[in-house]
Structures are given as structure tokens and as C-alpha cells.
């Protein structure tokens, strides 16, 4: 059964050696203290915490699940205690605003903390994870009084947060939502309606829960233009900030799910619950997107987390399990058989997991840096980082969760039949990973956001912002023979990416369904190139370090994995491009009733 060990060496490689975070944060006002050494010291401490307190609850949490009895939600054994330690150690406030009790460290660090808790135990990590988005929304849209009341205890971790969007009849299409908010004489609102799929909607880990709720004001315009944002506490808050009586929001049911069973997914009834308007009336949907973008990077991290955890589990097994002889000759003459890591196909699966996990790590940390630059960079840096972040977020969310699921499935496959047994711990990762392609916007929704809103919606400008980054990198290393195997391929694909986009854009002008027909394949195609960029960046650092240092095996494995990625995974772009170019007729030219069996 895999027990997560934080890959600190790889984290350090990405943070310091590849992304040179120390130097970046020196240049960002207020982040000067975030040196390479400080970042790594914090992460080492965090790694000890998650390995010791959170990882051991991964499998037991799945077995036990959450319980609802008489309206009270109970999380699995050990969950509240681990959360109490997490709060006590100050982890929730890492990258939050110091004016409200935060430690004002870079967002990057908060994102890596999410990776650490999530790799150790994704379901556990969702409780503090959901708070993060609520914190962001309150920071941006709450009044000073609301911030003192809700933001401070959220940042300290004393309370947790949720996002209440989905209703039974509307998930993606939030314009259809029906929850209503009636103004009350005291300036508050009474909320009425039912929300579903509310992660951490109720639990026993904190004394209060701050719900961020989408609802309609009376006489609001229909559709998405009539949605407002409210803050609704589980327990009413007294004037002195202490927790008062119960508010009218209750968990009516817990969902019985494929995985993440230790995460309480609630049906929440708002029955005259007292809430307070956040921001302007009827502008709730736009405000909620603040929350959603943060959440999408968080969910992208789930792909990385599951790829890493399943890699750790199957790697240990592959080195240990003796079965069959290598076809190129006996490798373990003293044993009855060779360890299965000698078999080429087992290596193919392990390297696929490793390539997605470590490539995903570089991708996610880069997004973390961008989000810090958006907040603290100069105007020009901000604008560029904002554009890159807008472009890369849907790719990260969809691509890394799809590849994380693939990696988790390889993790089972390496173990053969044993991987299918719960005891092995590997099948849980597949079940847990499956949600990531669904929540916070499905892969299809991310793909439409990418091709429609981001790429075609900007006239291609957002794509060009990033292909320019890739192009500059390729130019920097074009004279190096040892990088030719990567940069020749990467610069070719970088150009092809633009040409392919142009073709889709032209076709979509004639027929918008052309964008929809290309969307998911285009997103995956883009994802492979983005990861190719990060693997090339890692390869060049590893090549340099290998010449200078003695830590050979780490850097050799990096270069080798980069090569594997280029030769066996990046090549998937060929088929994706071919499929994209076939257009929409092969999807749309059939009457709905002919879809039958």
C-alpha cells in the first residue's frame, strides 16, 4: 500500500533549479523573504506533517467514509485531529493576506502545500482546500466588516469554507439556478433553495463553515445576469466574532460516490438561512469566477498528486515483485524470477507516470509563480502573467487531470490483479482521480473555455503570448547540440500549434460547432506541447547540472524521462492533430434520433 513520501528533491529541482524562485521573489515587493532556502525549509516541515499525520489516514478514510446521523456529519477517524494540528501549526495562513492574519508568503507555497496534503490524502486536503477559494473570494469582494468577521477565522483555519453553486438541474449552466435570496429589514437576506455536490458542506472539523452561495434576488433578470453572491455561515456570528446560534442551512444527505469517500459531498438545504450580499447585486457569476480560477489550479494539482502517488506505489512494487525472466537474459540469477521492472512494458508505464507527475509539477509551480507575478509584478509583468495564466489554467485543469487518471490506471496495471484489490491501495487512486475530470468544470468545459473564450476570443493573442515564451526558450538553447533532440521537435510543434489554431478559427467563423468539435482534442494537443516545454526546460537544467555536480542519477533520470516524454508521449500530438483536422461533420451530421442502439 503506497504511503506518500514528499518528493522533496524534485520539488527543490523545480522550485530552485528550473524556475529559480528565489530570484523571482527577490524582485516581487513583499516577497523578498521567500528565498530558495526559506521555501525549502517550509516544505520540509510541511512534508513531515503530511507524511506523519495525513498520509496514514488515506486508506482508512476511504474505508470509513463520512456519516450523516441526525443532521450531523462525521468525518473518518483521525480527520478532525489531523486538521486541528494543521491549524495549530499555522499551515492555513501560509499565503494569505497579513492584514487578516496571513503570513503573506507566495501563492506558490500555498499551491505546493495543496499538492502535499492532496498527494498524501486528497479527500482530507479538500477540507482546507475549499477554504482557499472562499478566502480569495472574500479578499476580493467582501466589505471590511465582512472580512473581519469571516476572512480572519478562515485564514487561521478555525473555520472552513465552501462554494455553493450547483443545483440538481444545473451544474455547468448556472444561469438556470433557482435558489432565492429575500431582502430582510436588517439588511441581511433570507436564502431558500437546495444546493448539491457541496464539498466540505458539513463536517466535524471546524466550529463554523462559511458558505459562498450563488442565488437570485427578487426581480433579478433571468439567466446568468441575475445571479448574486452571498456569504452564509453555518453558525450565525455574534457581533464580537464568536459563534452564535445555528443558521438555517442543513445537510440533507451525503452523496455515495465512486471515490473521495472521506470528503463530505453534501446536499445543502437553505431554509430561510441568513446571508449577506457579497459585492454588487446581479454580478455574482463574474465574482464567482475569482473563486473558480483558484479552484481550477487546485484541481489541476489533483492530477499531479495522483500521478505522483500512483507512481510511488507501482515503482515500489515493480522493484520488489519477481515474475518471469527478462527476454534479453536473466537479470536476477539468485532469484526465482526477475523483478518486473526489467520488462520494457512495465518501464513504459512507470515512465509515463513519472513524466506526467514531474512534468505536471513544473507546470503547476509555474502557474503558482504566475499568480504571484499577477499580484506583485510591475504593470508589464502583470499583464503578461495574467494572459499566460488565463491561457494555461484550463489546459492545466483538464490535461493534468486526464493524464493523472491515466497514470493512476497504469499504477493499477503494474500490479496486475493485485492492483484491483483494495488492500493494494492502488485502485483507490483511480477512483479518487476520476472526479478531477468532472468537478470545477469538466474537461469539455475547460476545452470550450480554452478554444472559445481564451484563444479565439482573444483573436489568438493569448496563445501567442505563450508560444512566444516557448519560442524564446528554443532560441536560447538553439546552439546546444545536447538540446537538439528536444528543441527541434518543440519549435516545430510550437509553430504547428499556431497554424492549427488558425485553421480551427477560420472554420469556426463559418460554423461555431467547428470549435466545439475540435475542443477537447485541441486542449489535449496543447497540453502535450505545454508539458513538452517544461520537460525541455527541465532537460537543459539537468544537462548543465550533470556536468557540474555529482548527483548523477537524479539528473540522468531527468534527461532520460524528458527523452521518453518526447519520443513516446509528445508523439500523441500527431493523432490529435489528425482528428482535429477532420472537422465537425463527423460529429454533427447525424440526426439526434439516429443516435440509438
Amino acid at each position: 500500500m503506497p504511503e506518500y513520501k514528499a518528493p522533496l528533491r524534485d520539488m527543490q529541482f523545480v522550485i530552485n533549479e528550473v524556475l529559480q524562485s528565489g530570484a523571482l521573489y527577490q524582485s516581487l515587493p513583499g516577497y523578498e523573504e521567500a528565498t530558495d532556502d526559506l521555501l525549502m525549509a517550509v516544505l520540509e516541515e510541511a512534508a513531515r506533517f503530511v507524511e506523519g499525520e495525513v498520509a496514514p489516514l488515506y486508506h482508512s478514510g476511504d474505508e470509513e467514509g463520512c456519516q450523516l446521523n441526525d443532521g450531523v456529519v462525521t468525518t473518518p477517524r483521525g480527520f478532525p485531529e489531523a486538521y486541528a494540528k494543521y491549524v495549530e501549526m499555522g499551515w492555513p495562513s501560509l499565503s494569505a493576506d497579513k492584514n487578516y492574519g496571513g503570513q503573506d508568503l507566495p501563492n506558490l507555497l500555498g499551491i505546493i502545500m495543496n499538492e502535499l496534503t492532496g498527494s498524501a490524502n486528497w479527500a482530507w486536503g479538500m477540507y482546507p482546500g475549499l477554504s482557499h477559494g472562499a478566502i480569495r473570494t472574500l479578499e476580493e469582494h467582501a466589505t471590511e466588516e465582512q472580512k473581519q468577521q469571516y476572512l480572519v477565522p478562515l485564514i487561521s483555519g478555525e473555520w472552513t469554507g465552501t462554494m455553493c453553486l450547483t443545483e440538481a438541474h444545473c451544474g455547468t449552466d448556472l444561469g438556470l439556478l433557482r435558489t432565492r435570496a429575500e431582502p430582510q429589514a436588517d439588511g441581511s437576506y433570507a436564502l431558500q433553495g437546495t444546493k448539491i455536490f457541496i464539498s466540505s458542506g458539513d463536517h466535524d472539523m471546524a466550529e463554523n463553515i462559511v458558505h459562498i452561495v450563488l442565488a437570485r434576488l427578487p426581480d433579478s433578470p433571468p439567466g446568468s445576469k441575475g445571479i448574486s453572491l452571498f456569504v452564509v455561515p453555518k453558525m450565525k456570528v455574534n457581533a464580537d466574532g464568536s459563534v452564535g446560534e445555528r443558521n438555517g442551512v442543513n445537510c440533507a444527505a451525503l452523496e455515495n460516490k465512486m471515490g473521495i469517500k472521506a470528503s463530505a459531498t453534501c446536499v445543502l438545504n437553505f431554509d430561510g438561512a441568513t446571508g449577506y450580499l457579497l459585492g454588487e447585486p446581479n454580478e455574482g457569476l463574474a465574482a464567482m469566477f475569482t473563486f473558480m480560477n483558484t479552484a481550477r489550479i487546485g484541481t489541476a494539482t489533483q492530477g499531479l498528486a495522483h500521478a505522483q502517488l500512483s507512481f510511488q506505489g507501482s515503482l515500489a512494487y515493480a522493484k520488489e515483485r519477481l515474475q518471469m525472466r527478462s527476454i534479453s537474459g536473466v537479470k536476477n540469477p539468485d532469484g526465482d524470477a526477475d523483478p518486473i521492472i526489467v520488462h520494457p512494458d512495465v518501464r513504459r508505464m512507470l515512465l509515463t507516470q513519472k513524466a506526467f507527475a514531474e512534468g505536471g509539477r513544473a507546470f503547476i509551480y509555474y502557474l503558482g509563480q504566475l499568480s504571484d507575478i499577477v499580484e506583485r509584478g510591475d504593470e508589464e509583468q502583470k499583464a503578461n502573467a495574467f494572459d499566460q495564466l488565463a491561457f494555461l489554467t484550463p489546459i492545466a485543469k483538464a490535461f493534468l487531470t486526464e493524464t493523472g487518471f491515466e497514470a493512476a490506471s497504469h499504477g493499477v496495471q503494474v500490479l496486475g490483479g493485485h492492483g484491483y484489490i483494495k488492500e493494494s491501495g492502488m485502485e483507490q487512486i483511480v477512483r479518487d482521480a476520476r472526479i478531477a475530470m468532472l468537478y470545477e468544470g469538466t474537461t469539455g468545459i475547460q476545452a470550450m473555455d480554452l478554444i472559445g473564450r481564451k484563444v479565439l476570443g482573444s483573436g489568438g493573442q493569448l496563445l501567442r503570448t505563450f508560444t512566444k515564451v516557448v519560442h524564446q526558450f528554443c532560441q536560447q538553447v538553439e546552439d546546444r547540440d545536447d538540446m537538439a533532440e528536444f528543441c527541434h521537435v518543440l519549435s516545430g510543434l510550437n509553430q504547428e500549434w499556431g497554424e492549427l489554431t488558425l485553421k480551427i478559427g477560420e472554420a469556426a467563423i463559418e460554423n461555431p460547432d467547428e470549435a466545439g468539435a475540435a475542443a477537447v482534442d485541441y486542449l489535449m494537443y496543447s497540453g502535450y506541447i505545454v508539458l513538452g516545454y517544461f520537460w525541455a526546460r527541465m532537460a537543459v537544467v539537468a544537462l548543465d547540472q550533470l556536468q557540474e555536480e555529482g548527483d548523477g542519477s537524479f539528473y540522468e533520470a531527468k534527461i532520460f524521462t524528458a527523452r521518453f516524454y518526447y519520443q513516446r508521449l509528445l508523439t500523441r500530438t500527431s493523432s490529435l492533430r489528425e482528428a482535429i483536422l477532420t472537422g465537425s461533420d463527423n460529429l454533427m451530421d447525424l440526426e439526434e434520433q439516429a443516435f440509438a442502439f
Copy 2:
């Protein structure tokens, strides 16, 4: 929640119109009665049975699972009753030998029966399914007395069978197995050892269970050359054939699995159990392969079954669920939103499921016909069918289970977050489908069987036997303009297949790891071409029928799905070919200890 409806129209299309089974069986001695009408009449009756009795137990079986109490295994509610009806109606004996109570109908019919029960409820279908392999093994290797004793009640369904191969330390590598069989004075053997992962190893559905067991005789040669085959009944059998006292074989534990929870996966202890040698001493492994080949076609059918069931579930949802407007204009002006089947990406997922399910059906039924020709054809037909079957079986097993799992995952995706909830019934299909790539030889094992034993081992001859079939088909339709879009691609790939194989073969002469490095991608590449052949065969029939008949929508959908397959799925061969051609260095040139994190 999807409740399986047998796709009788499609079954009829494949059986009669595409594969012209009636005409084939007219030409095979003893199968003359198997006319198209008879085959369809049997299937209609079978469909009524599985829809009415077996499908309703699919979800409850998963919820309840199997129980082990005081050594007694209990299957979920309704399972024994449905099995009793199944036996009463005579379904077990459909394609069995009439000398032992069988109905002597074609194997094809038995395989379709497996599809029907398995699509309705895979876990339930495994109980009679396992018997099928035991029957085949006894038919081939048992003495007349053993046949009367064990085969007759297996064929009637009164008893069920198992295959006992795996031990904790050996799955793929059966040469390592340790279970021992000591000769007794009366000519029987006393078996001692522990077998794991024994499907249907114990249950409450039949009064006796016939275990086919691999074990070692004393002083047998080490490794795979010292393995013999035994028949070991759960209950000893009296001379008159009645069930006697309990034998020394017991279920020590049930595995707690990701899916197929209603299938009892047993740890079986053989504690001096009385068994009888089947066939010659030390030739058990070869004899077991009789069983394995049958089982592999059975498992291939699981891929088809789950693709079909998940397609049915997500199709219904896609037509019903209203969410967002079509980007090319409102399609459902009377509703608040359009049904999600208007969205191109939803159609892409539905068509992928449909293409794998219906293509898989043609592939499986073709294998069924081949297995009948192997038994009843003339010498030349037999030899050709035997070669095709040897070549196609590992492809069917691995490719159809991989694509079945993909289809099942799309089935969840179409439902969005709702697909992740157990209530939807869709996530169960993913969990159930995941085992199919593992048992009866993993995808990697099938791939080595294909490239190593079958293709390179025959000097390419087995591949050529099948590419000739494809080539002849392409020649037959080469003058048809309406088939050009398919046959141009197919004949190109058919040729490329041979060339690619030659390259792998040449490389493998230098370095055997080259075969292992290519294996899985080569198998998948081959699978896409094989399915392309069947889609082209279906397309030409549909084009002809569309001109002649009024049943337009069915045939239009066939042609459309063929086109979709060619343009969006068969194109995956490009990336697979590219990956194959990169060779083994990108997998093997890294020391084992550098695989780390």
C-alpha cells in the same frame, strides 16, 4: 441508472447481414439447423431472460457484494434464483456437446449468450461463464468416466466450474507455482496448497463446484514443465454421480475489490483435497491453455459488454439532460436549455462508445464463427481459421478491454458530476471494466503473446493470414466510390502493418527487448486496424441496405459511425506507429536504481 436492453437489431445486423452466419452454418456439419431465423429466435428469448432476471440485479449486486460467514459464501440477493431459472431454461448447454447433454449449437451462440448475461450483469455472468472454460478443458482432456461424472452436470448447469491457477507469488509466471498433488493408493491425488483470485471459487448458486487445478506431482521437473492438471470437486461425487461429502477445499477469504463485487473472488485452501489427474502428468500448462483461450474470448467480450452498457446509459442521459445552448443556435426553444446531445464533444464521446461497442461486436462474433470453423470446417478452412483465431485472440482480449474501459469512462463523463455518484449506475461500469485488462493475462501479456509468440514466432505468417483477409476485402470493394473513404485508408494501413512488423522483427533479432518495447503499442495499433476492417465491412453492408430498404436511420447511423471511426479513432494509429518506431532505448537505457522520486 442504465438497465440493459439487448441491442437485438444490431446483433441481427452482425450475425445475418454482415457475417452471414446462416449460410456459414449450412456448410458446417452438424450446424445445419442454425439458420439465421433460429439464431435470432434463440437470442430474442435470451434477451427477454437477461433483461427480466439478470439486469435488475446489476446494481444491487454491487451494493451487497458477497459474504463469507463460517466458511460459507453467500452471493447477493436474487443471484441464486436467477441462476436457477437460467439452468431451468437450458441456457448453459447451448453450445455444448450433445453426447453429454449439450444442444450442440454453434459456439457463436454461446459467446453471444455470454455477451447478453455479461452486458446485463457482468458479475452474475461470471458464475456460468467460468463453467464454460472448465467444460472445454474436460471435453478435451478428461476420460470418458470423468466426463460422465463432471462434464454432464457442468453442461446442464447443475454444477459450476472454476480455473485455479494463480498463487500469491505467481500470476503470470505459473512456472513458480507450489501447490502439490500427492498420489494416493486409490489412484486419486491429495492436493495441498493455496490458490488466490479464484472467481466463483465458492458460492451458493449450485450444489457442487468443479475446480480445474494446476499443481505439481512429487519429483516433477521444476518450472513450467512440471505442472499437471487436476479436477477437484468441492463436494465429493458418489459412484452414482450424486453429491457426497465435503472435499478438503475451502474458501479462506473473499477479496475486497474495486468492482465486480458480486463475483466471489476466493482464496481457496486445498488441504488434502481429493483430486484426479486430467490428461498426462507434467503437461498441465499446455492443457490449461485450452481453457485460457476460451477465457480470453470471454474476457474480450467484457470490453464489448461494458462499452455497450455505458453507451446505453449515457445516451439516455444525453437526450434528456438540458444544459446550455448549442453554440450554433438554439435547438430546443421550448426548453430552458438544449439537450446536451447537441454539443459536439458529447457526441464525440457517445460515438466513441458506439464505435467500440458495435465494432467490438462484429469482431467478437467473427471470432465465434472462427471457433466454429476450427471445429467443423474442412481441413483447409480449419487451418486458416485456427491461424486467424490464434492471431486475433490476444488482440481482442487486450484491445477490446482497453477500449471498453475508455468507453465506460466516457459514460461517466457524459453525465458530469452525476456520473461520479453511485446512484447513476455509471461509475460501477468503470470499476467493473477495470478488471478486464488484468485477468486472463494483462494487456502487456497479451501484447507479448501477439508480437512474440504469434507474429514473430510464426515468422510473420499469422499476420499475413489476416492481412490477406483484409486485402481480399479491399479488392472486392475497390471499384465502389462510396467505399473509397474507408478502403483507401484501410488498404494503406494494412500494408503499413506488415512493414512496421518487419521493422520490429529486424530490431528484435538484435535485441529481444525491442519486441517488448513495441508490444503494447503494437497490439493497440493492430486492434485499431482490425476494428477498421470490421467497420468497413459493416459500412459496405449498410450502404447496400440503405439503397434497398426503408430502415434508413439504422443504416445511416452505421455509415456515419464508420466514418467517425475512420476519421477520429483509426487515426490513433499514427501516434502509436511513431512511438513504436522509437525503439527500446528510451525504456531500457536507465539503471534500475535511477527509477526513483
